[in-house]
């Protein structure tokens, strides 16, 4: 699950960052100018980040996608949207804070934003259930989508979840039905839908916000039918060792590049050097640009054509021989 400790492959980056910080501190204390010394170090830091991130393995991308320094849905809402007002509750059972949603403006135009919301610390994660929704979360999401449809407003979703919650209450209240209903309704919603995978796209719990006209994916996000741990545990009876997890991560083809090649997503949103967490503003800027452009493109379709194209897209998914 989410980790706040420095990822192993980022340690050289962290070390260099520490050196620069220290230099700045000492300089501040003694009122010295060290910009001449710092500039090359910062250049080195950029180069190091670029180098490390150019060569990430699929398992390392899983770690980046899950990292809790990474921007979450509410960060993107704050950085890429204006005039946000959050709406709560499914009107049936409860409010589920693992999914957030509400009206917002993208470039001044009203949209409905809905996304999984993880927590940065333990306290927030208890509230957000690590971004793993109960049925009421999905039903709230559906309520907001129908609300958007009613007022002819596009729906923008953000996907960032290890998966739908697997617990007693979730099962009792129909987790399966809630997810299935969203897939069903999203396939025929008469407004544009854009889904953006910003972190981990965990199976059915992710797809329940992911049936869309266009699916975008951040460069280091992952999207999979099962966690790498679960896959390794089933296939090789070992969901813990890094070697087996790496094997599963490669086999499952879960990176943005893989999904683009498989035709499941439409576009990869590049992240700033060193990942979205190294520069949240730049990441949000890239997301903003992609959403505005994609939405502009979708606005030319009338509702019935939009729905027809969306359906055709999903009906064509899959590979088989005949």
């Amino acid at each position: 699950m989410a980790s706040s400790t420095t990822m192993e492959f980022e340690k050289p980056i962290a070390e260099l960052e520490r050196q620069i910080d220290e230099l700045k501190k000492t300089a501040g204390k003694r009122q010295l100018s060290v910009s001449d010394e710092i500039a090359p170090l910062e250049r080195k830091l950029d180069a190091l980040r670029a180098e490390v991130y150019k060569n990430l393995t699929p398992l390392q991308r899983v770690q980046v996608a899950r990292n809790n320094k990474r921007p979450f849905t509410l960060d993107y809402i704050q950085l890429a949207f204006t005039d946000f007002i959050e709406l709560h509750g499914d009107r049936l059972y409860a409010e589920d804070a693992a999914i957030v949603g509400g009206w917002a403006r993208l470039d001044g135009e009203t949209v409905m934003v809905i996304g999984h919301q993880r927590g940065r610390d333990t306290k927030e994660n208890l509230k957000r259930n690590f971004g793993m929704p109960h049925p009421e979360g999905y039903r709230k999401a559906l309520r907001l989508m129908k609300l958007a449809e009613k007022f002819h407003v596009p729906v923008l979703t953000f996907i960032d979840t290890p998966g739908a919650w697997a617990g007693l209450g979730a099962e009792e209240r129909g987790q399966s039905e809630a997810i299935a209903r969203n897939l069903f309704e999203m396939s025929r919603l008469e407004v544009p839908i854009i889904a953006t995978v910003i972190g981990e796209g965990g199976s059915g719990g992710a797809l329940a916000l992911g049936v869309a006209d266009r699916v975008l994916m951040l460069e280091n996000a992952v999207y999979s039918v099962i966690t790498v741990e679960g896959c390794a545990a089933i296939l090789w009876k070992d969901g813990k060792s890094p070697e087996m997890k790496e094997r599963a991560a490669s086999a499952l083809r879960i990176t943005a590049q893989d999904l683009l090649e498989l035709g499941v997503i439409d576009e990869i949103i590049p992240e700033p050097v060193g990942g979205a967490h190294s520069n949240r503003e730049a990441a949000a800027q890239a997301v903003h640009e992609a959403l505005v452009r994609t939405l502009d493109d979708l606005r030319r379709y009338k509702p019935d054509k939009l729905v027809r194209r969306r359906r055709e897209k999903y009906l064509a998914m899959g590979q088989f021989a005949e």
């Binding site: 399966s176 999979s224 009906l315 590979q319």
Partner: protein, 287 residues
């Protein structure tokens, strides 16, 4: 006292000892009741003692639900490929075909049910745990398309552990694909009945299984999003007795009815007649 001593003649067996080969017997997995396989089969593989519904094959459900000699199998030529180059998937497929036949995890059938033309899909747990890959998704989509064009009701018997991991995110997309097709069916008011058998979990339960205009389940079937083992792992405690069974789901409002295997055909028929505006089957008279 000699009259007491009756001469003992060796008793002749009244008939030849019935030679029943040892493998003709079967034991109920639930209650341990032992009976002739023949008897289990005649009882639709429901235990005569405890009513436990044993797992049966796709073709068995076709025989149970579809009128005799009325059906043909559809889309038999659809075959799974290995789109990701997933380790050992081709070998696993080969093994599954050898063990369970080459229809993949679902059998598609065109036939009549109580005289009504229907499209029927029956999942086969024996084929890789009934897992849904591209072929299962496509076969359901084509069945649905057939129903859409002819306005024939769609019936699907579910039995699945979930999505087929070996096809990665493409198998996940089959959830969206089948649900999108069902939305079209709903808009055209073509009835869809979903029958859940043991087990129906994961990606299948979170898509077409739970989208029926009527949702029926066989007694005792385990139905859920996450499998019992996963939940146990997540919450770190044992599950309550009967959790995730068909009866439990009925009680929580997630199903329309729990139906005994022998009543499946008449129940589905009755539902479809109601939903497609047809008169009641013969034998039904007003009170």
């Amino acid at each position: 006292m000699a009259w007491f001593r009756k001469e003992r003649k060796p008793r002749q067996p009244r008939r030849e000892k019935l030679e029943i080969p040892a493998d003709a017997w079967e034991k109920c997995e639930a209650c341990g009741h032992t009976d002739l396989r023949e008897k289990f089969v005649r009882n639709l593989n429901v235990c005569p003692q405890c009513d436990y519904h044993r797992r049966i094959r796709a073709a068995d459900y076709v025989n149970i639900l579809i009128d005799e000699n009325s059906w043909e199998e559809l889309d038999v030529d659809l075959k799974s490929v290995d789109p990701l180059g997933f380790p050992e998937y081709p070998q696993r497929l080969k093994k599954a075909i050898a063990n369970a036949g080459d229809g993949d995890a679902i059998m598609s059938v065109a036939g009549t049910l109580g005289g009504m033309p229907v499209s029927l899909g029956v999942m086969d747990f024996a084929f890789m745990g009934g897992s849904m890959g591209s072929v299962v998704g496509e076969k359901i989509a084509r069945l649905g398309q057939r129903s859409l064009e002819r306005k024939y009701p769609l019936v699907i018997v579910c039995a699945s552990g979930g999505a087929r991991m070996q096809e990665g995110v493409l198998s996940l997309m089959q959830m969206a694909k089948t649900s999108a097709l069902l939305a079209q069916l709903a808009e055209r008011r073509v009835p869809y009945v979903s029958i859940l058998t043991n087990p129906t979990t994961g990606g299948v339960s979170a898509s077409f299984a739970m989208l029926g205009d009527a949702i029926l389940a066989e007694p005792g079937a385990v139905i859920g999003f996450a499998g019992p083992r996963v939940i146990k792992q997540t919450i770190g405690q044992d599950l309550p007795e009967g959790f995730q069974t068909a009866e439990f789901l009925l009680d929580r409002g997630m199903l329309d009815a729990v139906v005994h295997r022998r009543d499946l055909k008449s129940t589905v028929g009755q539902l479809l007649r109601h939903m497609s505006g047809q008169p009641a089957a013969s034998g039904w008279t007003s009170p």
